[in-house]
């Protein structure tokens, strides 16, 4: 084996790039099962709550080219205790608007969609209950919030400390419901061979999907194979199984051939989850020097009637700043809405908009620079768990960012800078996201000629995992990239967790490193360092969390600096430039890492200024359910983004020293924009998004 330079850290081009650019990388919808494919289209409920009183598929059934119409009356029974909205077509009860109430299978997608209009459905409907408010009397405390966090945390005497504080902030922040809109809509193609199911599918982890299919169709794990080599974005919406996988498999069984189901863009707004709206009250107490004495963060959010998804909105508040007295709470309303789900950095994203806006308000109230205020409240250890940090470089991020951005000498007063008709301001906010690791198995085989095959059920949802995992493997095996063939995105491969919670590379990468080490040790010990002529196969992996996770607090950090321009005539907002600096541990690939930071940060700017799923309080649906009306930031909204990182491996976190970077970029970003907006205009907008309409509202002109 030759010694080569380390590949980890290099800006290696995506190895899947050429195939994607040429259009030869086959996504789920584009697979060729070797037989004519039937297409599925769904009839969706037009009411939020009630039951189907009449369902007449006869007109659709009679249409030429229609193969079957599945309804709650004739759909195959699903077994097991499927959660949430997975028991598709199992009952006439309706729990949310957009629920699938019938499915048409036809020769072409056009015929299937046309036949949808031929299915007559009538409902006995109740008035929808879809509006979240903090004074609902049915708010409840869930047992746990997402990712296993405690619902509440109470330390010390928050109310007493607030009453005694020299300076306080007490403000309520709101974020709207938002919808994930990856470019690739969810798509599932199902084919049965006897009692074995193959599903080509867009998801964030094939094994996750397998377990629900096994449950629902009462199969053995070996009877289901989910194949997902390429996925066109996900952001959390493809983390769990949704009705699309169940429906495709069900329909394929009924019509006896391959069936594909691809959601329409409009269906992305009802069938695959959303981010809950939040109402967050923050109270901060500080001494005159700006040292926090109390932090209180009370969250109200929603979940659906058929599932409990409790977004962990206040959990970042448990780690970001020091304060002796602290309280975080989460309360939920169960509404007649589709099941909410993960959307990039669930919890941190809405929660840090509130906390980091409040910190800015506190800086203003104290007359202390907001960067300095954060530095003064840097905790020496995890302020709630009272364990040391595995590594924490937030202060360096703030200082480096301030330097790169040109923060020094900023006039803290609002509405002081103009350029033409633009009001100009700058703002700052911190970023943080937990560093975790999940169990992952791995197999590495080598043949007599030194070709390595690395197999693990990891996922590349557009992040670059094909490339980064290959780099890690090559380094761990001590060979060049071209000696390694990576296989991911297939449930036949060794089991691993999905691409979620920024755990992908931490988990899969550790599994690969440990397995490679084992292989090299065996080669050394059993074969004297020579490759055996008939090769060698080693199974290995990683058991789960880092052994230091119990004794240390592990997080990625970052700091955002944003310049905002607000048109004084129209209230239109632009972000001409921004700087973000990250403490993400080891950076495996400079190119794909930059894309993750940049993408996350842009999504945060988009959240600050644009994204909002507008619900009709009486009719109960998301009205702006397409990309013309659900606005996502365009290139023209955002100018220069200066992205950089500190090179500080976290030796305790995992075998590679990385912290996971898929989500850190979005956290805090919206607050940095809102803080800059305040600095530009003197207007504090506490409910996102910051639209032109709200500019006039704050000016008292509406």
């Amino acid at each position: 084996m030759t010694t080569i330079d380390r590949l980890v850290g290099a800006g290696v081009d995506r190895i899947d790039g050429p195939a994607k650019v040429r259009g030869t990388a086959a996504y789920a919808y584009e697979q060729d099962p070797g037989e004519p494919i039937a297409h599925l289209a769904v009839v969706q409920s037009t009411v939020n709550r009630g039951r189907i009183t009449r369902l007449d598929p006869s007109r659709a059934e009679a249409m030429t080219g229609v193969l079957a119409v599945l309804t709650p009356a004739n759909a195959p029974r699903l077994a097991g205790d499927l959660a949430s909205d997975l028991p598709v077509l199992q009952s006439p009860e309706v729990h949310y608007q957009g629920q699938v109430v019938a499915a048409v299978v036809a020769e072409t997608s056009e015929i299937a969609k046309a036949a949808v209009g031929g299915v007559v459905v009538e409902y006995a409907a109740e008035v929808p209950d879809v509006v979240l408010s903090a004074d609902r009397d049915d708010l409840y405390a869930p047992e746990k919030v997402m990712a296993g966090f405690d619902t509440d945390s109470v330390i010390g005497d928050v109310d007493g400390a607030l009453a005694a504080a020299a300076v306080t902030v007490d403000a309520t922040y709101e974020t709207p419901a938002q919808h994930n809109n990856p470019i690739e809509m969810h798509a599932s193609m199902a084919r049965w061979d006897g009692d074995s199911l193959t599903l080509w599918d867009a998801n964030q982890g094939p094994h996750t999907i397998v377990s629900d299919l096994v449950k629902g169709f009462a199969l053995e794990p070996g009877q289901v194979r989910v194949i997902s080599p390429y996925v066109g974005g996900a952001f959390g919406s493809k983390a769990f199984t949704h009705p699309n996988q169940m429906l495709a498999a069900m329909a394929a069984r009924v019509v006896g051939r391959t069936v594909v189901f691809e959601l329409t863009r409009q269906q992305m707004f009802s069938l695959v989850g959303h981010r809950t709206p939040t109402i967050q009250r923050i109270r901060l107490g500080a001494d005159p020097e700006g040292r926090l004495t109390a932090i209180s963060h009370e969250v109200v959010e929603h979940t659906s009637k058929i599932s409990e998804f409790a977004e962990q909105t206040a959990t970042a508040t448990r780690v970001l700043y020091a304060a002796a007295n602290r309280r975080t709470t989460h309360r939920l309303a169960r509404l007649d809405v589709p099941p909410p789900t993960i959307m990039r950095a669930p919890g941190e994203t809405p929660g840090m908009f509130a906390l980091e806006s409040a910190m800015d308000e506190l800086a203003v109230a104290l007359g202390i620079d907001p960067v300095e205020l954060r530095i003064r409240n840097e905790p020496a250890e995890d302020p709630e768990r009272h364990v040391p940090w595995s590594s924490r470089h937030l202060v360096e991020c703030l200082r480096t960012g301030a330097e790169r951005f040109g923060w020094a000498g900023r006039d803290p007063r609002p509405r002081m800078r103009t350029e033409g008709r633009w009001l100009v301001g700058t703002g700052v906010a911190a970023a943080t996201y937990p560093t975790r690791r999940r169990k992952a198995d791995c197999r590495i085989s080598v043949d007599g000629r030194g070709r390595y095959v690395v197999e693990i059920d990891g996922s590349d949802i557009g992040t670059g995992a094909w490339t980064t995992l290959s780099q890690i493997a090559a380094d761990a095996l001590g060979v060049g990239l071209d000696a390694v063939e990576l296989r991911i995105g297939d449930s036949r491969l060794p089991r691993a967790g999905g691409a979620g919670g920024s755990t992908g590379l931490a988990s899969w990468g550790s599994a690969v490193v440990l397995t490679a080490r084992d292989l090299r040790r065996r080669l050394e010990e059993q074969y004297g360092g020579q490759l055996p002529a008939d090769g060698l196969v080693v199974d290995g992996g990683v058991g789960g969390e880092s052994p230091h996770a119990k004794t240390h607090s592990m997080h990625a950090f970052g700091a955002h600096f944003v310049e905002v321009r607000v048109d004084r005539d129209t209230g239109e907002v632009r972000v001409p430039r921004a700087t973000s600096v990250y403490d993400g541990g080891t950076i495996v690939n400079a190119k794909t890492a930059r894309s993750q930071f940049l993408g996350g940060f842009s999504m945060g700017i988009s959240m600050a200024l644009h994204e909002e799923s507008q619900i009709d309080a009486r009719l109960g649906h998301y009205v702006n359910h397409d990309l013309a009306e659900y606005h996502i930031a365009t290139n023209a909204d955002i100018g220069e983004l200066d992205i950089s990182w500190l090179d500080e491996p976290d030796e305790l976190a995992n075998e590679i020293g990385l912290k996971g970077i898929g989500e850190i970029g979005i956290t805090g970003a919206a607050a940095a924009v809102a803080n800059a907006y305040w600095h530009a205009t003197g207007l504090r907008i506490r409910d996102l998004p910051i639209t032109p309409g709200k500019y006039f509202r704050e000016l008292g002109l509406t």
């Binding site: 046309a114 005539d569 619900i615 009486r618 009719l619 649906h621 013309a628 032109p692 309409g693 509406t702």
Partner: protein
């Protein structure tokens, strides 16, 4: 989507005859609006007559210095035309502020004028909408209507509708007093563009005064001779419909407003010619104060909805700013 036939006629008369014979047929331009609405089940024609090859793709000069724009001229080409950019910057700017590069390449002049409202209840066949399904009610009136009309709406009764007309180009053409040339089953006529789009009154199902089977063949823009501009406020920098837009043209002599054209987009069911503001301005000093008073005169009639009151001060600011910018240009 309903099944439909697709036809190409040999000439304009043939196309008109095809449609005259089919009450459920429609002309097809670039299809960027019509085909979307067909996919959503909002438009259900049984026949599409493709008219892109039938009408002109040329912009030609008129004797008076004005321009004749063929109905099939793509939005992108029109915006790029040197004569348009020099003589009617308001029109070029309006076009470029709309949609995206890809859409503008595809969209035609005729189709752009006749694009339908973006109201989210109109585009969702499961929701009430008097425009799409007369008598079903207006979902937007008490619903999500941040980007709906503040002027000239029908606020109650079976004709209730608070939708806006989405075209940017049409707002500029209204300010320019364009004339829309049509050929129909009863022959040719020229429609002053202000008489093309209608307010909902008691029948919001009709966007325009065109009769079934009438084909737009060209749009004539008479000579203007003074400075003009288009300004559009929207919720993101690109690829968003107007919250409010202003098409303005101004001629100032000795500090006094000698001529003025003002049209507003995003505020009504039709591009809104601000006649009250124009009347208030003629002969007045070209000052910020006078511009504000003129905008107020126009907006006095505004009846904003629960969530779109911001459009009133926004429209005021845009009118004032556009006119001040034009004074600046003239200097």
């Amino acid at each position: 989507m309903r099944e439909f036939r697709y036809e190409r006629a040999d000439d304009v008369d043939g196309a008109v005859a095809l449609l005259a014979a089919d009450p459920d047929g429609a002309f097809l331009g670039g299809g960027t609006n019509l085909v979307d609405l067909m996919k959503l089940g909002v438009a259900t024609p049984d026949l599409l007559v493709d008219v892109r090859q039938l009408t002109s793709v040329e912009v030609t000069g008129l004797p008076d210095g004005g321009l004749r724009i063929g109905a099939a001229v793509p939005n992108a080409d029109l915006a790029a035309d040197r004569r348009v950019r020099e003589r009617f910057p308001v029109l070029a700017q309006a076009l470029l502020s709309g949609a995206s590069g890809q859409l503008r390449n595809r969209a035609t002049t005729g189709g752009n004028l006749l694009q339908r409202t973006r109201c989210g209840y109109f585009t969702d066949v499961t929701k009430p909408c008097n425009k799409r399904a007369p008598g079903s009610g207006c979902g937007a009136l008490e619903g999500v209507h941040r980007n709906h009309a503040i002027l000239g709406q029908t606020l109650d009764g079976p004709g209730a509708c608070v939708a806006t007309h989405p075209s940017d180009m049409a707002v500029a053409l209204v300010a320019l007093d364009a004339v829309v040339q049509v050929v129909g089953p009863d022959g040719e006529r020229g429609i002053p563009i202000r008489e093309l789009h209608r307010l909902p009154d008691d029948d919001p199902s009709r966007d325009t005064t065109l009769r079934h089977g009438e084909l737009i063949t060209a749009v004539d823009v008479p000579v203007l001779g003074f400075a003009s501009r288009y300004r559009k406020a929207r919720e993101r920098a690109s690829f968003a419909f107007a919250l409010v837009s202003v098409a303005a043209a101004l001629r100032v002599e000795d500090g006094v407003v000698a001529d003025v054209r003002l049209a507003l987009g995003g505020v009504a069911h039709a591009p809104w010619r601000a006649t009250a503001a124009e009347a208030a301005l003629r002969g007045q000093p070209a000052t910020e104060e006078a511009f504000g008073a003129a905008a107020d005169a126009e907006l006095a009639a505004a009846t904003p909805l629960r969530d779109n009151g911001f459009k009133v001060p926004l429209a005021r600011n845009l009118v004032v700013r556009s006119l001040l910018d034009l004074v600046e240009v003239a200097r």
